[in-house]
Amino acid sequence: MGKLHRKTLETGVEGLGDSYFTESLALSTPPDDPDPLDSNLLLRELQWLLQDATGDVGRSQNPDLVPLRADLGDLYGLWRERVLERRPFQYVVGCEHWRDLVLWVGEGVLIPRPETEVVVDLVREVVIGRSGRGDGEEVWADLGTGSGAIAVGMGGVVGERGRVVATDLSEVAVKVARFNVERYALKDKVQIRQGSWFEPLEDVKGKLTGLVSNPPYIPSRNLPGLQAEVGRYEPKLALDGGESGMDHLIHLCEGSVSYLKPGGFFAFETNGDEQSEFLVDFMVSKLENSFRDVKAVADFAGIKRFVTGFRS
């Protein structure tokens, strides 16, 4: 196993001196790349890579040396994939830090995005608002759960009486989501089921207290132009929203009519302003009288990223 100077760990590359890691930074941005890697970000990623590969610092004999859990040469192999092949950093290290969670991710499952962290906050607000009302069990659903990010996050906020059922069509996603649920000891609270959207939810039809989803919403024609890390590595099943990008969103809005109980809450993530405005209008006018308080909610960049509301 390798050893590393503590200083390297703290600064990322300084201290690796003339080694190949620094060289890779220079390689990272060919002058003609239309979508270049940002070297500041790369530096930070390198630091994180070393962090994740660090062994038990407390047991090192020499206080200046930090034991590594992997061989430096192997780490360099991973780093090359990151830099030259644009493999997403999260797939390289096998995890993503999301909210206060560290979720296992890998090829075949979408890396959860920071924007989506807000979905859990939206749910939490509703749970707090409802507290004291009713006394039965409350079932929440996360459709297209991917790594299980939203489902695990919700498991922590739905309260004593709440439980979560999450679905995904992808076998890999179901495996990863189950793993993440178990890692956070939420097995009794969060159940992962394989199947298409509402299909695995017959037993809770009309009984859902809340329903959230971040379904694929990118218009098919935009898929070829995606950032290399996304387009080359992340599953198309997790991104492709059909011609307008809204095939799945519309299906979910329609399904909510029959799966939510009266007063039940929904929140969907969308591609942004245009889709959110369309959906608000769609739910108010086309699915008339089924929903109330339907509105678009902005993300931190000011883009209308979510549509929320309640079943009448």
């Binding site: 994180w48 660090t54 994939e81 797939y91 390289v92 830090h97 992808s170 890999v172 599953p235």
Partner: protein
Amino acid sequence: MARVISLQCFSLARLLQSRPSVRPTLLFHHPRFRPISASSVSSSISDEDYVSLTEEELMKQCEMDTFKASGPGGQHRNKRESAVRLRHVPTGIVSQAVEDRSQHKNRASALARLRTLLDLKVRKTIDLNEYEPPPELLQILPKKSTIRGADSGPQIGPNNSKFASGMQALLDLIFAVNGSVADAAKNLGLSTGALSRLILSDDSLRMEVNELRSSKGMRPLK
């Protein structure tokens, strides 16, 4: 269907032959990522009581300008940029956090820093004609203060967590008397020397007072 790849291929996790790291990233406390230096924001007066705002209310007053103009976002981007920069719109105070790998946690740190800055930077207006030091201020005054009753208990020093609120109230007063330590001391039943010693006993208090004094063309306390 998604590319079905067995879980075995997850790289570093496999390389390490163990689960991916779940250790919080305690090793890294970057000294360079401090909130914006005090000197770049001058104090402002406000009747708004920011201290009592909840997290959500405070957040609503902020712009999170890190991600402005960053394209469509969401599923389109692999964004390792988890840094958060908050701008508190009513006061213009900025705080940021980039040390964590999750945006959520950086937002919480940035918000906590913003609170500290607001405490330090935003002064309440005081009517000197009817001034009565609030109890939290009395608590940090030395016993010899003539207006400090026995019921104020022992003097609270800078290491006590209650010191901060007393310090806010003291800064409000010093601000109201335009930085004059002598005038503030009179209002507190103390000698100028005793109040100076109190101010010098805490670094952030001293810096705030001196910043105000230098903006009024006065000598700094040393």
